[in-house]
């Protein structure tokens, strides 16, 4: 979808920042504070910054970012952006939750937005951006059930926490929906949405776990595996690469791994993406037209906050009728006709 912008951004982020500084006299200014991953992390910091760049292109605003090198930088970076030069401060990531909260409470006039975090109770001047990942995962489950030749799908997670299991829930229910529609019996190994028990590596570091867990699922007949474990999933991709994609395919999470894991891009059937850029753009727009309100913004299929990535190299494996069904289901989820959560 956004190949050229993604590529451009990696090299052009600095230039863009300079460019926007030159035209600083313009009306609206959006400032971003990154997590320690940095602005070019191929993941959420970069995707969120892309939202600012998109707004820059579309609405001619000015944008700038500050990178946090360590957790101690969060507060200092936010504080240095206070004082009126930023109309909106966007903080990226769960870990900035506390720093954002304290800055927002001492500066009630300043508008804040934080990616991947929500406050309960809501803070009047902070908009949390959260994601209904299970909607996109539901589509991925349906797709995988339709593409699988063995009729067995596999899924495993990093740690049994809600941000991980929400993927697994949606994936399982999507496959179950396929069974209900087609009268098939496609199995999903590794997660039971009822008991909330399943297969977990219990870490986000050991890539060889990713390989071993995918091998385990493959041994039990799975030919499509969804690893929801951050970099651990790259180990699963290594196995798929070795076995061949006719035997094992992988579904990526968070970003479109076809572009971020370029060495193994051929193993990805699709990716379940969180489009932070879409929600960031939306928040900037709301702050510009005065509709900004504290609370939560839910990224969903409806507003493009979550999505299913294109099939890229595997496009030929997905039949036209399956593509049509996926489009119908997407519409059904957006309309509320198809319940993703029971």
């Amino acid at each position: 979808m956004s190949v050229s912008t993604t590529a451009m951004k990696r090299f052009g982020a600095g230039i863009c920042a300079w460019f926007s500084a030159a035209s600083i006299a313009m009306a609206f200014s959006a400032c971003e504070v990154t997590d320690t991953g940095g602005i070019d992390d191929n993941s959420f910091n970069q995707t969120a910054w892309k939202g600012v760049l998109d707004a820059q292109e579309k609405h001619n605003i000015s944008g700038r970012f500050l990178e946090s090198q360590a957790e101690t930088d969060y507060e200092a970076n936010i504080n240095s952006l206070l004082g009126g030069e930023c109309d909106l401060i966007i903080t990226v990531g769960f870990l900035l939750g506390d720093a954002t909260k304290s800055a927002a409470e001492t500066n009630p006039e300043q508008k804040f937005s934080i990616v991947d975090y929500s406050y309960d109770p809501a803070i009047a001047n902070v908009l949390g951006q959260i994601y209904a990942t299970d909607e996109a995962a539901f589509l991925a489950g349906y797709l995988a059930a339709g593409v699988s030749k063995t009729g067995v799908l596999g899924v495993f997670g990093g740690i049994n926490i809600p941000t991980v299991t929400v993927f697994m829930d949606g994936f399982s229910r999507g496959a179950a929906y396929y069974n209900a529609q087609k009268g098939t019996n496609v199995m999903v190994l590794g997660w039971d949405p009822e008991t909330k028990e399943g297969l977990f590596t219990n870490n986000f570091d050991s890539l060889d776990d990713g390989r071993a867990f995918a091998q385990n699922l493959y041994d039990e007949g799975a030919d499509i595996v969804l690893p929801v474990a951050g970099p651990v999933g790259l180990g699963s991709a290594a196995l798929a690469d070795e076995l061949g994609t006719d035997k094992l395919k992988i579904i990526g999470v968070d970003a479109d791994l076809y572009f971020t894991d370029t060495e193994k891009q051929h193993v990805y059937l699709t990716s379940i993406t969180k489009q932070m850029d879409a929600t960031v753009l939306q928040v900037i727009e709301s702050a510009m037209d005065g509709t900004f309100k504290g609370g939560n913004l839910l990224g969903s299929l409806a507003n493009g906050g979550v999505d299913l990535a294109p099939f890229h190299d595997m496009d030929a494996l997905v039949s036209d009728s399956l593509k049509q069904e996926l489009a119908d289901i997407r519409q059904g989820i957006i309309d509320g006709a198809i319940p993703v959560r029971p």
């Binding site: 940095g38 070019d40 992390d41 191929n42 190994l189 590794g190 039971d192 008991t195 028990e197 399943g198 297969l199 977990f200 219990n202 870490n203 570091d205 050991s206 890539l207 060889d208 776990d209 990713g210 390989r211 071993a212 867990f213 091998q215 385990n216 699922l217 041994d219 039990e220 970099p231 790259l234 180990g235 290594a238 690469d241 070795e242 370029t262 060495e263």
Partner: protein
């Protein structure tokens, strides 16, 4: 064999131990009978071969009820036998056998009415055991010369990193040599710190671990992010040994693995020969048991320690390369995930013997792959508990409840030549 009454009385401590084991086995029999047997109608299916194998073996179908009762009976027999005429020699054998029976009963119980690939699980056992076994072997080599090696984790990580970097540039074999060299370098550094500078061995090891973790994380986040081709190493594929590799079950488990599996087995055998059947090995062990006596006999204690700790580092470096060149072909921060420490546990479980460390690593690998299967089978027992089981066993062994695990006498002490 006529028992000598007086000799038996002297051995009351061991006899009490034999009695305890006997009682334990009987308790296990009761456990199997009452916990596993009641809901036992149906059968457990173990798949032994994949459809692509040359000789397809039919599935192993075990009727749960009769099997569980048979296991309970066997356990009870072992227990009673042990209790009544607790031969010292038999204690650990019957305990090991009893625990294996327990695991078998548990597996059949968990799988009743379901099926999974037994061959796949055993294959995973061997694969997962490799880094642990090599870490354990590195521990044996250095602790046999009385240098406690906490730094195994760091050496594994350094080997993984060097393997990925050099492997991407020079190819797999080049990466392997680089990993072994870097591991050896850190072994040498450890030796220098603790032998020459007499630094506390635990602290020196922890320092190396933290240093390697920091350095590799920094480089991978700063350099590998930007230059991705430097983190794209080839993976050594499985090598099938002709004929042996075609044997059902055993073939795929032992004879269709990659270079690291064969390498680990060979290294364990060579290390055993070196430590226990050569003169240099005897000298190395003497340095670990009583360095002063060894010194008096003209053995250069410092040199022996330097050589063995460096060798240990090379073994750990090879084990580290498994993570990248033997598994996933790329490096990521902290990817060894504490396997070096588990290797240390394997060394202790294996009683400071290379073969023992390998066996312990296989037990840990088995628990690991079993846990993965149980998570799929949705058993009532949380799989995390199973993951703990081997470490509980290690604690029991270290605490000396079963047999005795004795570290080399001078382990952890710096030697000061007078």
């Amino acid at each position: 064999m006529t028992p000598v009454p007086t000799a038996r009385k002297i051995d009351t401590g061991k006899q009490r131990q034999a009695r305890i084991v006997g009682g334990l086995l009987i308790a296990l029999a009761v456990l199997v009978l009452f916990v596993f047997a009641p809901d036992a109608p149906g059968a457990a299916t173990f798949r032994l071969s994949r459809p692509t194998d040359p000789w397809v073996v039919p599935n192993l179908v075990i009727p749960a009820g009769p099997f569980t009762y048979a296991i309970a009976a066997l356990l009870a027999f072992l227990g009673v036998r042990q209790f009544l005429r607790g031969g010292v020699r038999w204690t650990s054998i019957s305990l090991g056998f009893g625990l294996a029976l327990l695991v078998a009963a548990f597996l059949v119980w968990a799988t009743t009415g379901k099926a999974f690939s037994l061959t796949g699980m055993l294959q995973a056992t061997v694969v997962r055991a490799v880094p642990i076994a090599l870490g354990g072997l590195a521990g044996v080599l250095s602790e046999r010369v009385a240098v406690v090696n906490i730094a195994i984790e760091g050496m594994l990580l350094a080997g993984a990193f060097a393997g990925a970097l050099a492997g991407s540039v020079l190819g797999g074999v080049g990466g392997l040599f680089a990993a072994v060299a870097i591991g050896g370098l850190f072994g040498f550094i450890l030796a220098a710190l603790v032998v020459t500078y007499r630094m506390d061995q635990i602290i020196a090891g922890v320092v190396i671990n933290l240093f390697v973790l920091g350095l590799t994380s920094y480089v991978s986040s700063q350099v590998f992010q930007e230059y991705r081709h430097l983190n794209n190493a080839p993976v050594f594929r499985s090598i099938k040994i002709p004929l042996l590799g075609d044997i059902p079950v055993i073939g795929p488990v032992f004879f269709n693995q990659n270079l690291f599996v064969y390498g680990a087995v060979i290294m364990v055998l060579v290390a055993t020969y070196y430590l226990f059947y050569t003169r240099t090995g005897l000298r190395a062990r003497a340095v670990g048991e009583h360095p002063k006596a060894a010194d008096t006999l003209g053995i250069n204690v410092y040199r022996v320690r330097y050589i063995n700790v460096t060798l240990a580092g090379m073994v750990a470096g090879f084990g580290g390369a498994w993570f990248t060149l033997g598994s996933v072909g790329r490096f990521d921060e902290g990817m060894t995930g504490g396997r070096g420490y588990i290797g240390l546990a394997a060394m202790i479980f294996g009683r400071w013997h290379p073969v023992g460390a390998l066996m312990a690593a296989l037990v840990f690998g088995f628990a690991d792959s079993l846990q993965q299967k149980l998570a799929l089978l949705q058993t009532p027992i949380p799989s995390e508990f199973l993951a703990m089981a081997p470490y509980i066993a290690t604690i029991i062994v270290v605490a000396g409840l079963i047999g005795r695990a004795r570290a080399p006498a001078a382990d952890g002490e710096a030697y000061v030549k007078e």
